[in-house]
């Protein structure tokens, strides 16, 4: 078992592992014998497709030599799932699996080597299950990049858990949900622990590997980041084209009959129908431009579609609009859903929490960064941490507001409070920028040594602050440039 790390230009451990797959391929394929067989398992569909395309386009494997199992290959999956060994047979040299291949799958055929790419979509235990699909594999490489740890993460221990659980009924009551369900505590636990799982996904996988495999050795690789990023971009462009050339009517009828795609082509019909339901006008215009426009218009249509297919970006924009532009229909719909089955983990409860926080405290005033020019984090102006006056003031208003206090049982200190503020801003899609700034401190802080080796002190110290970009300038370049058009489309939904 080989554990992959990469380094940044400065020589530190890097959080970005994109492109390690290509490096591994370089070491596998040029020297492989015809009967060598490899497997890649990943929790990221785009990574799986990128690796697949790379194997065919650059490594030069034939399509019949590569098997890709993901949610977009139903035809392949129907053959593969019941009889993976038969499907792999003699000719296949590379198998790529995503979590679509669930735990029932049992591949007995031996592999020369395997690669696991995990970016935190599935929890560590399931990542290990994916690795376990190939019962016989010579050597595994596993990449699970670490994440930056947010400063100010409050500790979460047994005592605090108890206190939070005792305050939970108030939170649920606050939104009119039924209380006393047996799973309420479980829901709270799951949401809070889920965050920790995500934060420490890499460490958890490493721990699990050490526990279940005989030896785990760290290897350092040079990642081919640029090549991989270009490949990912190609895959996304291809996806946009496939969606735009899908048969929307057929997709809509599938959705109406509650059927899932049976043929590979239906995947795109289905996807187009799904997207058209959300943004009918946009997609009508995009399809028109794609079908009848000249080269430049077509290209524009594809780029716009890529943006609209970016689910995370679009969802957070929707959250932002709902919070920023209160609308009776939305609010009423949310209220009605609350009246049904609600727990601390359900998405509408989360939405209500963050909306309330954002509206009551006017969090929009925290987003002050703009693009262009040098980015300057200034603790008096646009950057914050739990010691800045602006956050302390918000903390006081929070404490005075009983509804907010009830909605956030987890918040006990200003550190906890700043943490949920950060979560709320991220939920609404404000792009965060962190950085270290030297600020004045009350007590002299150590500041290096002089030439005689004596400790020096100064009245400033480096502290970590975060700022947020204004909403119209949070996101990809294309997204920011076309913010007005995109926000209009989401308003019209």
């Amino acid at each position: 078992m080989k554990w992959i790390e990469t380094r940044t230009k400065a020589g530190d451990i890097s959080f970005d592992h994109s492109g390690v797959a290509l490096t591994i391929f370089d070491s596998w394929f040029p020297v492989s014998k015809p009967d060598d067989r490899y497997i890649v398992v990943t929790d990221n569909r785009v990574a799986a497709k990128s690796v697949y395309e790379w194997a065919i386009r650059v490594i030069g494997l034939k399509e019949s030599e590569v098997i890709l199992v993901c949610s977009e290959t139903p035809e392949q999956n129907r053959l593969f799932m019941p009889d993976p060994d038969g499907c792999i047979g003699e000719g296949v040299r590379l198998v790529i699996l995503t979590p679509t291949a669930q735990s029932g799958l049992d591949i007995q055929i031996p592999f020369t080597a395997g690669l696991g790419l995990f970016c935190g979509v599935v929890p560590g235990t399931q990542a290990l299950q994916l690795i376990g699909r190939a019962r016989q594999c010579g050597e595994w490489f596993v990449s699970a990049p670490r994440r930056a740890i947010d400063e100010g993460e409050g500790a979460f221990d047994e005592v605090k858990l108890q206190r939070c659980l005792s305050r939970l009924p108030e939170a649920l009551q606050e939104v009119g949900a039924a209380i006393g369900k047996k799973s309420d505590g479980w829901a709270f636990w799951q949401r809070e622990i889920g965050k920790i799982w995500q934060q420490f996904n890499s460490e958890a996988i490493h721990w699990l590997l050490k526990k279940y495999y005989a030896s785990v050795e760290t290897v350092e690789l040079m990642a081919r980041r640029q090549d991989f990023k270009r490949q990912v971009s190609k895959v996304k462009t291809r996806e946009a084209e496939q969606v735009l050339s899908g048969n929307g009517e057929h997709g809509a009828s599938l959705r109406e009959d509650e059927k899932l795609p049976y043929y590979d082509s239906e995947v795109w019909d289905y996807k187009l129908a799904e997207e058209t339901e959300k943004y009918p006008k946009v997609y009508a215009a995009l399809i028109d431009a794609y079908e009848s426009g000249d080269e430049a218009t077509r290209e524009d249509a594809i780029i716009t579609t890529k943006t609209f297919l970016n689910k995370r970006q679009m969802d957070s924009l929707k959250n932002y609009i709902q919070a920023e532009e209160p609308n009776e229909d939305d609010d009423q719909a949310l209220q009605e859903r609350q009246a049904g089955y609600t727990n601390y983990s359900s998405s509408h409860f989360k939405k209500l929490q963050y909306q309330e926080l954002y509206r009551s405290l006017g969090l929009v005033s925290l987003a002050k960064l703009k693009r262009g020019g040098k980015l300057n984090l200034d603790p008096n102006e646009n950057a914050f941490n739990e010691n800045t006056p602006r956050i302390q003031k918000l903390w006081q208003s929070f404490q005075k507001n009983s509804r907010l206090r009830n909605l956030f049982p987890i918040v006990e200190t200003i550190q906890d409070f700043f943490k949920v503020v950060k979560s709320a801003m991220s939920y609404l899609g404000f792009q965060k920028q962190g950085g270290t700034v030297r600020v004045k401190v009350d007590q002299p802080a150590p500041n290096g040594t002089d030439r005689n080796g004596q400790q020096r002190f100064s009245n400033t110290a480096p502290k970590y602050f975060v700022g947020w970009f204004i909403r119209a300038e949070s996101g990809t370049k294309f997204f920011c440039e076309n913010f007005e058009m995109i926000i209009k489309a989401v308003r019209d939904r």
């Binding site: 235990t125 399931q126 290990l128 047996k182 799973s183 479980w186 799951q190 949401r191 526990k211 983990s345």
Partner: protein, 99 residues
């Protein structure tokens, strides 16, 4: 078949639980086995199938939760049916090999 209380082994994915589909089924005579418990537990909690899942766990005669990662499972006892899980806690010596 479930509704008429027929004997048998029924394999279901949790998405198919709903008031409409399984709401009339009486589980008090059933042994409910949840495979991949840790994964199911993490995914299901925020979903709309949760009320029905909760009813089944509460009403079933026996609940058996299966997961290869037993060490990770210390905190999983679902309160209402913890009795069933705790009383038949089995660690298979070769469990890690069947990952």
């Amino acid at each position: 078949m479930l509704e008429t209380g027929q004997e048998g082994l029924f394999l279901m994915c949790y998405e198919s639980l709903s008031d409409y589909h399984t709401g009339k089924v009486d589980f008090s005579n059933a042994v409910v086995v949840v495979d991949e418990w840790a994964g199911v537990r993490a995914e299901i909690i925020g979903k709309s199938v949760m009320p029905e899942f909760e009813r089944i766990l509460t009403e079933a005669q026996t609940v058996v939760a299966l997961d290869a990662f037993w060490v990770m499972q210390i905190a999983i006892f679902f309160p209402p049916t913890g009795r069933a899980i705790a009383s038949s806690w089995i660690r298979h010596p070769a469990s890690h090999r069947s990952l």
